[in-house]
């Protein structure tokens, strides 16, 4: 956990610095506002400074190590919260979700629904083709009808 804490806090610090140096100045116009209260940039900057400072403090705190460690602290540090297989799953699942979102956008719900359900069923090791097909098409049709007929919100 210690390594993960160090890496994740470094990423947050980097993100905060990019926000403060590039994104906020570039995407929050500094206009003549009212003479009282806060300008449009104040809250984004306050929030960015807060999380960047906290993450930097946490980074150094974890890098230096704690003074006194209880058994629970040591056990917590030994835990491996994310492993190679988790990254692979995230990559596989993430790419699949993004691809299905693109398919939704391009082909609509009725065409994108069945592959989404079938894809996840196969990911969960359901190997019976009839079960996959019936669930994928049945669920898509049922949800589509429910939204169209019952909620009066037709899906794309």
């Amino acid at each position: 956990m210690r390594t993960v804490d160090i890496v994740s806090s470094a990423v947050v610090v980097l993100f905060g610095m990019v926000l403060m140096a590039v994104i906020i100045p570039g995407w929050v116009p500094v206009e003549e506002g009212p003479e009282f209260g806060l300008s449009a940039t104040t809250m984004p900057i306050v929030a960015s400074v807060t999380f960047t400072t906290l993450a930097a403090a946490f980074f150094f705190h974890r890098l230096r190590g704690r003074g006194e460690q209880t058994e629970a602290d040591e056990q917590y540090d030994r835990t491996q919260p994310i492993e190679r297989k988790n990254w692979l799953f995230l990559l596989r699942g993430g790419i699949f979700l993004i691809a299905m979102t693109a398919l939704f956008n391009w082909a609509g719900f009725l065409l994108a629904g069945p592959p989404t359900v079938a894809g996840f069923m196969l990911m969960m090791e359901e190997k019976r083709p009839w079960h996959v097909a019936v669930t994928a098409f049945g669920a898509t049709a049922a949800i589509w009808l429910f939204f169209w007929q019952f909620l009066k919100f037709p899906l794309p």
């Binding site: 993960v4 960015s48 919260p81 979102t101 939704f104 996840f120 669930t135």
Partner: protein
């Protein structure tokens, strides 16, 4: 009085009652399935309520919340797998009771305790929320700023293992809430010329992504791993050879456990009213108190009926109490309350002290629906135990992919554009990483919800103090809250956390 009666009349229409009953049913089913939980179900259900009236919509969602709270106990008792974290303490005696051949007795005791705890906390909510809101109305922007600062710090401190990470997550949430048009001059902030972002990040896309889609992804991953290590076994709740007295909770048993239920209901209500603590520590404290007060503490862990009653009454008593800070102050007590806040906002209600004045009828309608939901929980829970036990045997590989599809369709409904769907997927991935890296999503979401309000009151405070910042010292409540914030940072962040705030060990 007219407001109360008109609210109750709205809540008690046939259509509304049917929605509450349906909500409770859905909640129990979802809660019973390990890995699925109340907040997830509420998040997915919110888009389905767009066409409903505010009272009907909120009543339906509250029904789901209440049903899911009891539903978690079903898998805890029959499979030793809590449907949600709050039911962990229920496994301690529920599962041993089931193994002794008394699963139905354990389930029924869990149901009765859940209804008693929940009803008690609802009554406290009804009695306390309005006076609390009146008190909050006397607060000015300085007090509200200090209060919000305290709530955010406290929640960040208690929800995770590290206060620093909680605060990082909270400030990231506030930062995310600043995206969109600036409330003062309508200046676009970090919208990247995307029209859909001008209204800010849609709360529901975030909530569905982080609480539903991401959770399902984690469950799918866990499912694949569980299949590799073998399936888990459960207890048959409807074994015909079980004697009648082991299938029911007798009057004497109920009477004997009633004291435990009431004690736990008080514990759960107090814990629930404190933002950030939630139902899991309440369940543990209720269980612990029942064990300490018992004449036979040695029976705990081996199938004590009082153990089930103590844990269930306490975790259920947080449901109503969570709404005390939510409705009176606009500060959500836990993640379910945070999602209910988003539902209220979508239906045109702004939680906070003014809600009683501006939407009194809706609120009393909600209170009426909550009480009715407890009754439905009892009736549906009792009548449907066989069905809910059967639901546990449904294979996850059919349920989870269909929920993914519901997430997609729900997210589409928010803005009727694919933009919200894309954001939902992005937040699901962010949530997956935050959970693995142990950054609190509760702090993130609650800060995101409170962000605009915080900015608003901070702006007013700065205007107020522009001429003379020393006038802050004329505001003892604000000073007191600032001192409390500093104390909680010192006590919870740098000192040793009191046991109640530590992550429970199963």
């Amino acid at each position: 009085m007219d407001v109360v009666l008109s609210g109750l009349a709205t809540a008690l229409t046939f259509a509304n009652l049917a929605l509450v009953a349906f909500g409770v049913f859905v909640g129990i089913v979802v809660g019973a399935i390990p890995g699925l939980n109340g907040p997830m179900a509420i998040a997915i259900a919110i888009p389905l309520t767009f066409t409903l009236s505010p009272v009907a919509a909120i009543s339906f969602l509250v029904g789901i919340n209440k049903g899911a709270n009891f539903g978690g106990a079903i898998s805890a008792i029959l499979m030793n797998v809590p449907g949600a974290a709050e039911a962990i303490a229920t496994t301690f005696d529920g599962y041993p009771l089931a193994r002794k051949g008394k699963p139905l007795k354990a389930l029924k005791m869990a149901l009765y305790a859940s209804v008693v705890g929940d009803s008690f906390s609802d009554l406290v909510l009804i009695l306390v929320a309005a006076p609390f809101a009146l008190l909050a109305l006397t607060m000015g922007p300085a007090e509200l700023t200090a209060l919000m600062l305290f709530a955010l710090t406290f929640i960040a401190a208690v929800v995770g293992k590290s206060m620093m990470k909680g605060l990082v997550a909270g400030s990231l949430g506030i930062f995310a809430s600043t995206i969109g048009l600036d409330p003062e001059a309508s200046t676009p902030r970090m919208t990247f010329d995307v029209l859909d972002l001008e209204e800010g990040i849609p709360l529901l896309a975030m909530v569905i992504g982080m609480l539903a889609l991401s959770e399902i992804m984690i469950q799918i991953e866990a499912h694949v791993r569980a299949r590799a290590t073998g399936e888990r076994a459960g207890v048959d709740a409807f074994n015909k050879s079980t004697p009648h007295e082991d299938r029911i909770v007798t009057g004497a048993e109920f009477k004997a456990s009633f004291r435990t239920m009431m004690r736990s209901a008080v514990i759960g209500t107090v814990i629930g009213a404190i933002p950030g603590l939630g139902s899991t520590p309440a369940g543990f404290l209720g269980y612990g108190a029942a064990k300490r007060a018992s004449k036979h503490p040695e029976e705990f862990g081996k199938g004590a009926l009082d153990g089930v009653a103590g844990a269930e009454a306490a975790n259920s008593a947080t449901v109503g109490a969570n709404l005390i800070p939510t409705l009176a102050l606009g500060i959500p007590g836990n993640i379910s309350a945070a999602i209910l806040i988003s539902a209220l906002i979508i239906h045109g209600l702004t939680p906070g002290p003014l809600i009683f004045e501006q939407h009194g009828a809706v609120l009393y309608g909600l209170f009426g629906a909550m009480l009715v939901a407890n009754l439905f929980n009892l009736v549906i829970g009792q009548a449907g135990l066989r069905l809910f036990a059967w639901v546990l045997s449904l294979p996850n590989q059919y349920i989870h992919p269909v929920i993914v599809l519901l997430c997609f369709s729900g997210a589409y409904l928010i803005t009727q554009s694919m933009f919200a769907v894309g954001l939902m997927v992005g937040f699901a991935i962010l949530d997956y990483l935050m959970r693995k890296f142990d950054y609190s999503i509760v702090a993130f979401i609650i800060a995101f919800i409170l962000g605009p309000l915080f900015e608003d009151v901070l702006r007013q405070t700065l205007v107020l103090f522009e001429d003379n910042p020393m006038t802050l010292f004329d505001r003892p409540i604000a000073i007191g809250l600032i001192v409390l914030t500093a104390y909680s940072i010192w006590r919870l962040g740098f000192g040793h956390k009191p046991a109640i705030f530590k992550e429970p060990e199963a």
